[in-house]
């Protein structure tokens, strides 16, 4: 599918948003499960492939959705195009590093 220039932002924010509905509901359910539990219990749950991969999936989707959202907010409220570009890169690098770090950690826990 080819999208006109400028529609990518719109299209991907919405598509990832739709995917985030079930995964986000799962995350709330997961948080309810780990409430007031000790770390060993949580790590044990996250060793299950389903829980571990769902968390990785959530982190990926969250990374994309929040990057696109922050970029949209930046473009709307900051007029200087140079600042817009710099901030967009800052968001991108920040989200990629934090998400990547978390994914490696959760992935390593599943593999061990």
């Amino acid at each position: 599918m080819t999208l006109p220039h400028g529609a990518y932002q719109w299209f991907w924010t919405r598509s990832v948003g739709v995917l985030l509905i079930p995964v986000g509901i799962w995350f709330l359910w997961f948080l309810a499960q780990i409430k007031n539990k000790d770390p060993a219990y949580i790590l044990n749950i996250l060793q299950n492939p389903f829980e571990g991969f769902m968390l990785i999936f959530l982190i990926c989707l969250f990374g994309v959705h929040s990057y696109l959202g922050l970029k949209e907010v930046t473009i709307d409220y900051i007029t200087n195009s140079r600042t817009q570009t710099v901030l967009s890169w800052v968001w991108l690098i920040f989200l990629i590093t934090t998400s990547g770090f978390l994914i490696l950690m959760v992935g390593r826990n599943i593999a061990l």
């Binding site: 509905i21 409430k35 949580i42 968390l55 929040s66």
Partner: protein, 131 residues
């Protein structure tokens, strides 16, 4: 072309429904911070197990619980309103009647969800007022 993606607030009269729209954006930005804190908290389970437990009990345990409750409320709002936004993106529901009714429904759903979250999350037996 660097045109803004949404109408600018300076030329826009604020209404109840536009307030909800703005709050969708505010809740989105707040959720990034909440999520990052939540992920950092889960990351602590891998690195510093003592700190993980200390945070659960920090300031008598209520800071931890208020955090999850606010996270839950903002998340519910962003989720319900997001579904409404997707419905508009499909090209439906532009009638002012629908916009206003759905705005009320979303507020109601958020309040119900927030209430259920509060009942589930708040646990006074974990609170330690003088420690």
């Amino acid at each position: 072309m660097r045109r803004p993606l949404s109408p600018h607030l300076q030329v826009y009269k604020l209404q109840f429904t536009s307030g909800l729209s703005i709050f969708h954006r505010i809740s989105g930005v707040c959720l990034i911070a909440f999520m990052m804190l939540g992920f950092a908290y889960i990351a602590l389970a891998y690195f510093d197990k003592t700190m993980f437990i200390r945070i659960q009990k920090y300031a008598g345990g209520w800071v931890y619980q208020v955090y999850w409750w606010k996270f839950h409320t903002f998340f519910s709002y962003h989720l319900f309103n997001g579904i409404r936004h997707i419905y508009w993106d499909l090209g439906k529901g532009y009638h002012i009647d629908f916009v206003e009714k759905s705005a009320n429904i979303i507020l109601l759903l958020t309040m119900i969800s927030s209430f259920i979250g509060a009942v589930y999350i708040f646990d006074p037996s974990q609170w330690r007022l003088f420690s």
